[in-house]
């Protein structure tokens, strides 16, 4: 990965992902999509369940399972096509250059291991030279960065002893352990309460701003998009149907599906009297 690369952080070109089914034709889940993420940018991928948005993120991470394969296109990270890397090189990209958080904070942490060892693992993989003490300090530091109060105590706990919101913070801490340039968040707030969701969104925004981490944010909820995204990619049945700046999208939705989504949004703001309206 060249250090002085100038293009977008990640660009996905004509990506096709298919799943094998026994005896039948392969199912194309992601069908020739292209988009990019610039450094420090938050790109939201919006779509309903089954639209292929999660598979896109797994394709980028190289974490496809159950017979899923990228069968076409390229995924350029800082100009390097990830699909051309060896398994080992690909692995070294994960966690260090890009990392991921998942929808279910309940199941995305190993129930058998303490929080600190799960975070430490992420550090040790890519920075094996660090001493135990350094790692320990880094763990606490990360927990503090994701605004976990009483970080020392939480570090010694097991996942089931934490609330959903706390777990998602821990996941974010893990994802940030090696200070990746790209964070992929797959519906990270869907399973959370509203107030917790607001906190997690604020946290992601804050990290994006402070550290310049590029974010791909996957969601089905346009109001979350409205809150967080710089740019929006709308997916429908495996294809990208619309891509636009977030303001442009909300002001002038183009595609029928986008419009339908827009209509379905519950609104609470009153049109009149809004101080930000312009």
């Amino acid at each position: 990965m060249s250090k002085n690369h100038t293009g977008p952080l990640l660009s996905v070109n004509h990506l096709v992902t298919e799943f094998e089914t026994r005896g039948k034709n392969n199912i194309t889940v992601v069908d020739d999509i292209s988009f990019h993420v610039n450094e420090g940018e938050i790109v939201a991928i919006v779509g309903e369940s089954g639209s292929g948005k999660s598979i896109t993120s797994l394709s980028i991470m190289g974490l496809l399972k159950n017979g899923g394969h990228v069968t076409g296109g390229a995924i350029l990270y800082q100009g390097t096509d990830l699909l051309k890397l060896s398994k080992k090189e690909r692995r070294q990209v994960r966690g260090k250059e890009m990392s991921m958080i998942f929808q279910e904070p309940m199941s995305s942490l190993n129930p058998m291991l303490r929080i600190k060892s799960q975070i430490a693992e992420a550090i040790n993989i890519h920075q094996p030279a660090k001493s135990k003490k350094q790692v320990q300090e880094k763990v606490i530091d990360l927990l503090k960065q994701v605004e976990i109060p009483d970080a020392e105590r939480v570090a010694n706990r097991f996942p089931h002893q934490l609330s959903g919101g706390m777990r998602q913070r821990v996941m974010i801490a893990i994802a940030l352990a090696c200070e990746p340039k790209l964070l992929i968040a797959d519906e990270p707030t869907t399973a959370l309460d509203v107030t917790t969701q607001a906190q997690i969104l604020a946290l992601i925004k804050d990290l994006n701003k402070r550290r310049g981490t590029g974010v791909i944010f996957i969601t089905h909820d346009l109001s979350v998009v409205a809150d967080i995204a710089d740019r929006v990619v709308v997916m429908y049945q495996g294809k990208i149907v619309e891509e636009a700046d977030v303001f442009q999208l909300f002001d002038h939705p183009q595609h029928a599906y986008t419009k339908k989504l827009m209509r379905a949004m519950p609104t609470i703001e009153k049109k009149a009297g809004d101080s930000h309206a312009n």
């Binding site: 399972k65 692995r91 998942f102 279910e104 992420a122 089931h160 352990a177």
Partner: protein
């Protein structure tokens, strides 16, 4: 601690029910007198002996006598051996337990790597082979396996001794024979369990950290998939002891199973009752232990 107390309390009614079951069975099995007397004894002799053994009392009286003496550690005297039944049983228990534990060890050593291998290579030839072997292993009667092993490994190539219980080498064939079915069962279980765990999101999390696949498996999949396996091992223990009855006969292993068979052949009530009871207690202890292991293994339970 309160958990342990609660479990122990739950055991008591089970044990009581157990004594009723055992006693009822053996009571119906009835007349031990004939086997105690010589071939040409008279019917008066029989009557006198029955009287002296309290065999003419009604069922419930005999049951309470049985229960009372059991509480005091007296499990009755074997007619055949003229010795306290408990003593006889405890004498043999180590042989059977060692054999069962070795069998379990062999089953674990075989099944865990094979199960993981099959799961990781799901739907490949390796998986098919492992699953096939394990199903066949469970479908073969164990005495048949035992006799075959003796014929091939002990008589033909002579790498193991035929029977007896003198040296570690003597353990191999009987423990393997006894462990085959369990190994087969566990292999399937480990495979299924690994397949399930491997689908968990935290495994994806580990991969997304950039962790090596081998470490993902050993650190995140292995331990988590072990939990259901531990439970099954505990549940399988009594069946293992049941299998030992057959295996001990094939391999001339001086354990509890042989004692039981002799006792059954001679209607030696005291021994039968004691064996069933001791095995039941052992099973219960093993189940408690697996429960504890399970609790130690799984922090979700430990810290709640």
């Amino acid at each position: 601690m309160s958990y342990l107390k609660r479990s122990l309390l739950q055991v008591i009614p089970s044990l009581l029910l157990l004594t009723v079951i055992i006693f009822a069975l053996v009571y119906v099995a009835g007349d031990p007198v004939s086997s105690m007397l010589p071939e040409n004894a008279t019917s008066e002799d029989r009557e006198i002996l029955a009287e002296s053994l309290g065999l003419n009392e009604p069922f419930y009286v005999q049951y309470f006598q049985y229960l009372r003496s059991m509480v005091t550690g007296d499990f009755g005297t074997s007619y055949q051996y003229q010795r306290p039944a408990l003593e006889l049983v405890l004498e043999r228990l180590p042989a059977t337990l060692t054999l069962s534990l070795m069998a379990m060890l062999i089953a674990i050593i075989i099944s865990i790597p094979l199960g993981i291998l099959a799961a990781l290579k799901r739907n490949t030839f390796v998986d098919f082979l492992v699953s096939g072997i394990s199903i066949v292993g469970k479908a073969m009667p164990n005495f048949w396996i035992g006799i075959m092993l003796i014929l091939f490994l002990a008589v033909q190539i002579q790498i193991f001794p035929v029977s007896g219980a003198d040296t570690p080498a003597h353990f191999v064939l009987p423990a393997f024979t006894l462990g085959v079915a369990l190994a087969a069962e566990m292999t399937r279980l480990v495979r299924a369990s690994v397949l399930e765990v491997i689908e968990e999101e935290y495994v994806q999390t580990a991969r997304s950290k950039g962790q090596k696949e081998s470490i993902v498996i050993s650190k995140h999949v292995f331990l988590n998939s072990l939990i259901p396996v531990v439970t099954i091992v505990g549940l399988q223990f009594p069946q293992l002891i049941g299998g030992a009855i057959v295996v001990e006969t094939v391999f001339a292993w001086p354990g509890i199973g042989r004692l039981l068979l002799t006792a059954i052949e001679t209607s030696d009530m005291a021994i039968i009752q004691t064996i069933v009871f001791v095995i039941a207690i052992f099973t219960i202890v093993v189940n408690l232990l697996t429960d504890l292991v399970y609790r130690v293994l799984d922090p979700r339970i430990k810290y709640n």
